[in-house]
């Protein structure tokens, strides 16, 4: 028994060592500075917690008994500590010997090692490392192992007790957004010094937390009158937000809500209809470019030449922002149908790759058709929206416009979800053949999903162009698609509040935490994988999807009755070349 605990500890220690090596190699200690080792130890403690509790289920947790667990934790901590300390010492020796490691490993610099030892970089270069440095590292990581084990035990004893919170937790959830909103307003009032230099960041964070908690509050409220009153109050609070936030905060919120608009559109395609579209950025780009052509025709050489030859002056916007809305949406919707027709017969992963190809093709065209799109130099001086002569191009008004746009789209999506079309989408997502058999017109249903999703992306694109005033092909890379898809997935596929939460988490937080900008993509990529393993239904899932992914007795993809015949379907494989 003891031997097995030690073996398990060594295995967990090795995993922790691999993760720590990765974090050191990507230069996290340099960022953390003098607190590097304690913070890494804290992170390791969390890793040990997850690894030691052994799986997601409650039973795995209950099987753990204190003594072996502590032994495993301590072994894991000691093992990872010794390995990591050896690695750090090795790197430090190399640097002290004057070897320039940077051409091979970019982030292994004296500053990085110095942060781990808690000394000045000069000391690393001179080879004057504190004698007990490695003991400190090993000690902290061993402690992390013990703490990890204690966390598991703590979790177990908490789980075993049944908590009777009554309605208190629910009421707390409902009141929280108002408390946060009040906090935001209070932080903005003159004379408050809380947070010092980071007051603006704190406010932005609080504002985002307020919106996020509002979504949970709405879910916690009882359906019916209670929910409606709460929604009304929250809307009033939300409407007040743009007027209390400052320029920078409003501009961050603006981009977050432009992505909410996009996410809601993609949610229709991916979440409702189950068509994985990786080229969604194409419609966003169409919206932005069409609006740019309409409002700044002079920016495009070919288009302005065409207009002048037709006798239309090309030196002023052709139409206003408001008139442009139906045009851009229509153009994007048309793009959606044109993309949809060829891919009608494709499903699942094939669809993903083809749409990804489409997205790239559109971007390559924008990059290379210099006559029309001005190539990489982009289209400049796109007009902001005007209303009765007022320029609405400032961050506050863009935020308000994005809020309005997101509201309209959310309402449309909500109504679509329950409509005949929405149910047809869900039927199609679950099983195309059966959906067709029950009378769903697949061609029409699929094209409508693509078109409606594209319409919303077009609107988002137009607002984006008006916000940026200058647009370049680089604004429309694959990463916009991936970001949008991630926010839909993290929030919960098919869930409208999920999209808002996802946008706040994936587009808002990085703006707040500017320090981790370099690590943004790896963080989200890792998050995407972890999310798929731990909680594939998202943070705020729609009730239906939650049920699907957490069916009792086995994975959701294996229904009790399969249509497949029991015998293998293709015998050529036994003699032919096919795998």
């Amino acid at each position: 028994m003891r031997l097995r605990s030690v073996q398990r500890g060594l295995r967990i220690g090795a995993i922790a060592f691999a993760i720590l090596t990765y974090l050191i190699l990507i230069g996290l200690p340099t960022r953390l500075g003098s607190v590097a080792t304690p913070v890494l130890a804290l992170l390791t403690a969390l890793i040990f917690w997850v690894a030691l509790r052994g799986g997601k289920s409650k039973r795995a947790l209950a099987d753990q008994s204190p003594a072996p667990l502590a032994l495993t934790g301590a072994t894991a901590g000691l093992a990872s500590g010794l390995l990591t300390a050896a690695l750090i010492a090795g790197f430090a020796r190399l640097l002290a010997a004057g070897v320039n490691v940077q051409p091979y490993l970019d982030k292994i610099v004296p500053l990085n090692m110095a942060a781990l030892y808690g000394v000045m970089p000069g000391a690393v270069m001179a080879g004057e490392l504190p004698g007990g440095g490695w003991l400190w590292q090993v000690g902290l990581l061993t402690l992390a192992g013990v703490v990890g084990a204690l966390l598991v035990l703590l979790e177990r004893s908490l789980r075993q007790r049944t908590w009777s919170t009554g309605g208190a937790l629910r009421w707390l959830t409902i009141v929280l957004p108002f408390v946060l909103l009040a906090f935001v307003i209070w932080l903005g009032s003159p004379g408050v010094t809380l947070g010092g230099n980071n007051r603006g960041t704190l406010r932005l964070l609080a504002a985002m937390a307020a919106i996020g908690s509002a979504l949970f509050a709405l879910r916690a409220a009882q359906r019916g009158r209670e929910q409606r009153i709460l929604a009304l109050l929250l809307l009033i609070g939300l409407a007040y937000l743009p007027f209390t936030l400052d320029q920078f905060q409003n501009s961050v919120m603006g981009i977050v809500f432009i992505f909410v608009m996009m996410g809601l559109g993609l949610n229709i395609v991916v979440g409702f209809a189950g068509l994985l579209d990786l080229g969604y950025v194409a419609f966003f780009a169409i919206g932005a470019y069409v609006y740019a052509f309409l409002s700044a025709p002079f920016a495009s050489p070919a288009f302005s030449a065409l207009l002048t030859s037709l006798g239309v002056p090309a030196d002023a916007p052709l139409v206003s922002f408001w008139v442009a809305i139906p045009i851009t949406m229509l153009a994007a919707g048309l793009g959606g149908v044109l993309l949809g027709i060829p891919v009608l017969r494709l499903r699942g992963d094939y669809l993903a790759i083809v749409t990804l190809g489409f997205g790239e093709i559109i971007r390559l065209f924008m990059l290379n058709m210099s006559d029309l799109t001005n190539g990489p130099r982009g289209l400049l001086n796109v007009a902001p929206p005007y209303l009765f002569g007022y320029n609405l191009g400032n961050p506050r008004d863009i935020f308000i416009l994005a809020l309005l746009g997101a509201g309209v789209i959310a309402f449309a999506a909500y109504r679509l979800d329950g409509s005949r079309l929405g149910r047809a989408w869900i039927a199609m997502r679950e099983d195309e053949d059966v959906a067709q058999a029950t009378g769903v017109n697949l061609v029409q249903t699929k094209l409508l999903a693509f078109a409606i999703g594209a319409l919303f992306a077009g609107l988002a694109g137009q607002l984006y162009a008006a916000r940026q005033t200058n647009i370049f092909p680089d604004n429309f890379t694959l990463f916009v698609s991936v970001d949008t898809l991630s926010l839909v997935i993290v929030g919960g596929m098919g869930s409208i509040p999920g999209v808002v939460l996802g946008a706040l988490a994936l587009k808002g937080l990085p703006e707040v935490l500017r320090g981790i900008d370099e690590y943004r993509i790896v963080t989200f990529a890792a998050l995407l994988v972890i999310m798929m393993i731990v909680r594939p239904e998202g943070i705020l899932p729609s009730t239906r999807r939650r049920r699907e992914l957490h069916e009792e007795g086995g994975p959701a993809s294996e229904p009790a009755i399969t249509l497949e015949p029991a015998l293998p379907t293709d015998y050529r494989t036994l003699d032919g070349g096919k795998l």
């Binding site: 990765y22 959701a556 379907t569």
Partner: protein, 377 residues
């Protein structure tokens, strides 16, 4: 073929799909069926028009430009070399797809990491002075570099399978795909963070520089070596899959995981072995692509990966000879396409993507494959 009796004498391929759809079709309204055929004819008509336009363009450009024959031959040779490399990567997609029915989106990154390991091995041997030494030493070093690249890829592939794919086995199909996209981004940007932005250069040893002439056509040594090595590796793969016990187990698992497990096959082990095979091929491809393009960057696996996937689809995914044929064909199309169509070479990537889209629309089963794109998700 003794099992035919069980299924009303239908041809064995796609039998289950036919059964399912035919049962459903019989209860479907006439309107739906007619609609489907109308769309199909519409698509076919559009395809013919497109083909005619394409031919017209090729002929007019060909008459206008009047390139010498040697130009076309050397372009075609370039295409074959590139096609050989794509084939190795495409085989990785096909192997994994055949067994797990999932697109290993991060396969291009597995190749890129192989290329990185290879470049470090190259730097090591250059520092030892082997690269400028006698021919045998250079050849030995090159083999070791290729082996290093393969090992780097294998380590990545196996870790990928263990961390990002195995926990998701049996989940709905979108779930592993999203996980694969996440893994692909994670690998790319981790390499960027760990090794820095500056590209690594593959300095060719003097032995590999230059080439020989056949008539007017110049054939570089690297091209010959890459093409021959790719063919040898493909042959090795074919033998492994067809002649070894593990290969037989792979084919059994591809056929039916459940039954294979009942026959005493360790499915997990076979899947890991598949990832090892596909990663090894990708690693070799990465090193060769490195010598061919002379630079590797954190994102240099992405586009070749997509193209290799295109090649796999072109040949019929899940089909080993198909991946080889598709890749060589794609290499040729990409090399000859821009000059034949009279468009700038920057549009080369557009041609590859268009080929993918066109194949999926008109023949989703690929050239040699069975219909899988419409299989139940």
């Amino acid at each position: 073929m003794e099992a035919t009796d069980f299924h009303d004498g239908l041809p064995p391929q796609n039998r289950h799909k036919r059964i399912v759809t035919s049962t459903i079709r019989s209860s479907t309204s006439y309107r739906v069926r007619r609609q489907a055929t109308t769309t199909r004819w519409l698509v076919r008509g559009l395809g013919l028009v497109g083909l005619a336009l394409l031919l017209w363009r090729v002929v007019t450009v060909g008459l206008a430009e009047n390139y010498p024959l040697s130009f076309w031959i050397s372009q075609a040779l370039n295409g074959l070399v590139l096609g050989g490399v794509y084939a190795l990567v495409a085989l990785g997609y096909t192997l994994v797809y055949g067994i797990l029915l999932m697109i290993n989106f991060a396969h291009g990154e597995v190749m890129m990491i192989g290329a990185f390991t290879g470049v470090f091995a190259l730097q090591f041997f250059t520092a030892l002075g082997w690269m400028s030494g006698p021919t045998t030493l250079v050849v030995l070093a090159l083999l070791l570099i290729a082996a290093a690249g393969m090992l780097g890829s294998i380590a990545t592939g196996v870790t990928l399978e263990r961390v990002a794919y195995r926990p998701l086995r049996g989940a709905p199909r979108l779930v592993p795909l999203i996980s694969a996209i996440g893994a692909s981004l994670f690998l790319q940007y981790s390499v960027l963070l760990v090794f820095g932005v500056s590209p690594r250069t593959y300095t060719r040893p003097p032995l590999l520089e230059g080439g020989f002439r056949v008539g007017d056509v110049f054939v570089p040594y690297t091209g010959v070596i890459i093409f021959v090595t790719s063919l040898l590796l493909m042959l090795a793969l074919y033998l492994i899959v067809q002649r070894t016990k593990l290969g037989k187990a792979m084919r059994a698992v591809a056929e039916d995981k459940g039954t294979a497990a009942l026959m005493g096959i360790d499915v997990d082990r076979v899947i890991v072995f598949t990832f090892i095979l596909s990663a090894a091929l990708a690693g070799a491809a990465g090193v060769m692509l490195g010598f061919h393009n002379t630079v590797v960057k954190f994102n240099s696996g992405f586009v070749p990966g997509l193209k290799a996937f295109t090649a796999a689809v072109l040949g019929g995914i899940g089909n080993i000879p198909g991946a080889m044929v598709g890749a060589l064909l794609l290499g040729l199309i990409e090399a000859i396409g821009p000059s034949a169509l009279g468009i700038p070479t920057e549009y080369k990537d557009i041609i590859a993507f268009s080929v993918l889209v066109i194949v999926l629309i008109f023949r989703p089963s690929g050239l040699l494959g069975e219909v899988v794109s419409e299989k139940k998700a």
